[in-house]
C-alpha cells in the first residue's frame, strides 16, 4: 500500500503545509483559522490556532529554512507568521486586492512569496528591511480571470500561474534590490518585473495546479476538462503534450522526479503519470488499488446522478469498463484538493508526499515500495 498514514483532522480541509522538519502540520479546516498540529506519541495534538483572518483561508505555505508561515485568505489579505517564543506573531501584508486571495507560495530562496487572486492579478511580496514591512508588487492586466495556482521556478525568478481563463503563463518576478543579477539565467536573463515570458493556450476550460519539475525544465498543469498538460523547454519554442484522462478532472499535481508526476483531484485517488525514455508522458495507474467490494459502487455524486439518468443504478455502468468503487474503497472519500511534497530539507523532491481533501483527511504516501514506479524515480 502506497499510503502510510491517514488522519481525520476536520470535516473538510482547504489546504495544508508542513513544518521544515515535518513534525508539525498547518491546515485550514474550511474556516478563517489555521490549526497547527504536532504528532506526539502517535496522537495528533493541536498546538496553536492562528486566528487573524476574517474569512476562509485559501492558502498556507511554511518556509523550509526560515520557519515562517504565510497565509492567504478570501478576506483579501495575507499574514506572515513568525514564531516568537511560544506564540506565532502575525504581520499583515496589504496585498492591495479587491478580490479574494486564492493561493500562496514562498519562493525557493524564501525572500519573496507570490499570491494568486480572484482580482485577475498576482502579487509578488518581498520584505523591506528599512520599513520593517512586506511590500506587495502586482502583476496586473495579464490574466483574464482568477489566478488559481502559482509555482516558483527553482531559479527564484520565474513564476508560473494558472487561471480560470484556461491559460498557463510564466512571468519574470525580478525585483531590484531583492534578486541578485547573477541569479538570472536562461530566457529570463534580461526581463523586467512582470514581463510575460510565455502564455500557454492549451486548455479551453479552467486551469489548476501548476508545478515545475525539480530542475525547472518541465511544467505540468491540469485543466478542468479532464486533461493534464506537460510543457518542456519553457521559452520561445515550448514543447507541449497533453494527456486526456478517463475519469474526473484533477485539481493539483506534484513532480516526484523529473519523470514522475502525481495528480490528485475529483477522483479521490492519486493518479501516477510518467515520461518514458523519449519523454512521452502517459497515465500509468492509480496509486491506490481498487477494491472490488460489493458495497455501494457509486462513490461520487456524479455517478449517482448517472444511475438516475439510466434508471438502473446497478447495471450498465457496473462492469469493468467503469469502476466507481475507488472513491469508497480508497483512502480519501472526497475530492483531493491539495498535495504537498515531503522532501528532506535541501532536496526539492522526495518519494513521500501528503494529500488533503474535502473529506477532512490528511494522507501520507510513500512510493518506496512501489516497485513498478521505481524506474521513474
Amino acid at each position: 500500500m502506497a499510503a502510510t498514514t491517514a488522519h481525520q483532522f476536520a470535516q473538510c480541509i482547504n489546504c495544508h503545509a508542513w513544518s521544515p522538519e515535518q513534525s508539525m502540520i498547518a491546515l485550514c479546516p474550511n474556516n478563517n483559522e489555521v490549526h497547527i498540529y504536532r504528532l506526539l506519541e502517535d496522537k495528533w495534538e493541536r498546538l496553536h490556532v492562528l486566528q487573524k483572518h476574517d474569512q476562509i483561508v485559501s492558502g498556507i505555505d511554511w518556509s523550509a529554512r526560515s520557519n515562517r508561515i504565510v497565509t492567504a485568505s478570501h478576506d483579501r489579505n495575507s499574514y506572515v507568521w513568525n514564531l516568537e517564543g511560544p506564540e506565532w506573531v502575525p504581520t499583515l501584508v496589504i496585498l492591495r486586492l479587491n478580490r479574494a486571495a486564492l493561493c500562496v507560495k514562498w519562493s525557493p530562496k524564501e525572500n519573496k512569496f507570490a499570491v494568486g487572486s480572484g482580482a485577475k492579478t498576482v502579487c509578488i511580496c518581498y520584505y523591506e528591511q528599512e520599513n520593517n514591512w512586506w511590500v506587495s508588487k502586482l502583476i496586473r492586466k495579464r490574466h483574464d480571470s482568477s489566478v488559481t495556482s502559482v509555482a516558483w521556478h527553482p531559479n527564484n525568478i520565474l513564476l508560473a500561474t494558472t487561471s480560470t481563463d484556461g491559460k498557463c503563463r510564466v512571468f519574470s518576478t525580478f525585483i531590484k534590490g531583492v534578486d541578485a543579477k547573477d541569479s538570472r539565467t536562461g530566457p529570463s536573463s534580461d526581463s523586467k518585473f512582470g514581463e510575460q515570458i510565455i502564455q500557454l493556450d492549451l486548455s479551453f476550460s479552467w486551469a489548476f495546479g501548476v508545478k515545475w519539475s525539480p530542475s525547472g525544465n518541465t511544467l505540468a498543469y491540469v485543466g478542468h476538462n479532464s486533461m493534464i498538460y506537460f510543457v518542456d523547454d519553457v521559452g520561445p519554442s515550448p514543447l507541449a503534450q497533453n494527456v486526456a484522462l478517463r475519469d474526473l478532472p484533477l485539481r493539483d499535481v506534484i513532480f516526484v522526479s523529473e519523470r514522475l508526476v502525481i495528480g490528485v483531484g475529483f477522483d479521490c485517488n492519486p493518479m501516477v503519470f510518467a515520461a518514458d525514455r523519449q519523454g512521452i508522458w502517459s497515465f500509468i495507474r492509480y496509486l491506490c488499488e481498487r477494491k472490488t467490494s460489493s458495497g455501494p459502487k457509486y462513490g461520487s455524486q456524479f455517478s449517482e446522478a448517472f444511475g438516475k439518468l439510466y434508471g438502473q443504478p446497478k447495471q450498465g455502468l457496473n462492469n469493468d469498463g467503469v469502476e466507481h468503487s475507488r472513491s469508497r474503497g480508497g483512502i480519501h472519500e472526497n475530492c483531493i484538493n491539495c498535495i504537498v511534497s515531503l522532501g528532506q530539507p535541501g532536496i526539492s523532491t522526495g518519494k513521500r508526499f501528503s494529500t488533503s481533501g474535502l473529506d477532512g483527511k490528511v494522507v501520507i504516501w510513500d512510493l518506496e515500495d512501489q516497485a513498478d514506479l521505481s524506474e521513474y524515480l
Binding site: F204, N225, S226, R246, L248, F302, F306
Partner: protein, 135 residues
C-alpha cells in the same frame, strides 16, 4: 478591418458548407452500402468546431444526425470506432439530447451509455467543459 475579417469568415463558411455538402453525399452512398460506422466516421471527421458560424455547425449536425440515426448495432459500432472519435462524438450526443426530439434522444442516450463505459467520465467532462470548440 473588422469588415475584412467578417468577409474572410463568410468566405470560409461557404467553403465549409461546400465541404459538408460533399460529405453528405458520401454519407448517403456509404449508408446505401450499409456501412453505417464508416458513414458516422465521415460525418465526424472535419467537424467545424472552430468556426463561430452557426450555419456551418447546424449543417454538420444534420449530417452527423443522419449517420447517428442509421446506427442499429451500438456495440458493433464501438468495435470499429477508434478512440480518437470519442470526444467529438460525445459533443454531438449532447447536441442531440438538446434537441428534445424523442427518437433522437433515445438513440443518443443509448449510444451515450455505451460511450461512457468505453471513454469514461473524462470524455463527458471534456465535452461539457469546452465552451470554445462547440459543435
Amino acid at each position: 478591418m473588422a469588415g475584412a475579417e467578417a468577409f474572410v469568415e463568410a468566405d470560409n463558411a461557404e467553403a465549409i458548407i461546400t465541404r459538408i455538402e460533399h460529405k453528405s453525399r458520401k454519407i448517403e452512398s456509404l449508408l446505401k452500402q450499409s456501412k453505417p460506422v464508416e458513414a458516422l466516421k465521415t460525418a465526424l471527421e472535419g467537424s467545424p468546431p472552430n468556426t463561430r458560424d452557426e450555419r456551418c455547425k447546424s449543417a454538420n449536425w444534420i449530417v452527423v444526425h443522419r449517420a447517428l440515426m442509421a446506427i442499429k448495432d451500438v456495440e458493433g459500432m464501438f468495435s470499429s470506432l477508434d478512440p480518437e472519435y470519442y470526444d467529438i462524438l460525445m459533443k454531438y450526443l449532447y447536441r442531440g439530447l438538446s434537441t428534445g426530439d424523442r427518437p433522437t434522444c433515445d438513440q443518443c442516450l443509448r449510444i451515450h451509455e455505451k460511450l461512457t463505459e468505453r471513454a469514461g467520465l473524462g470524455c463527458i467532462l471534456r465535452s461539457l467543459a469546452d465552451t470554445v470548440n462547440t459543435v
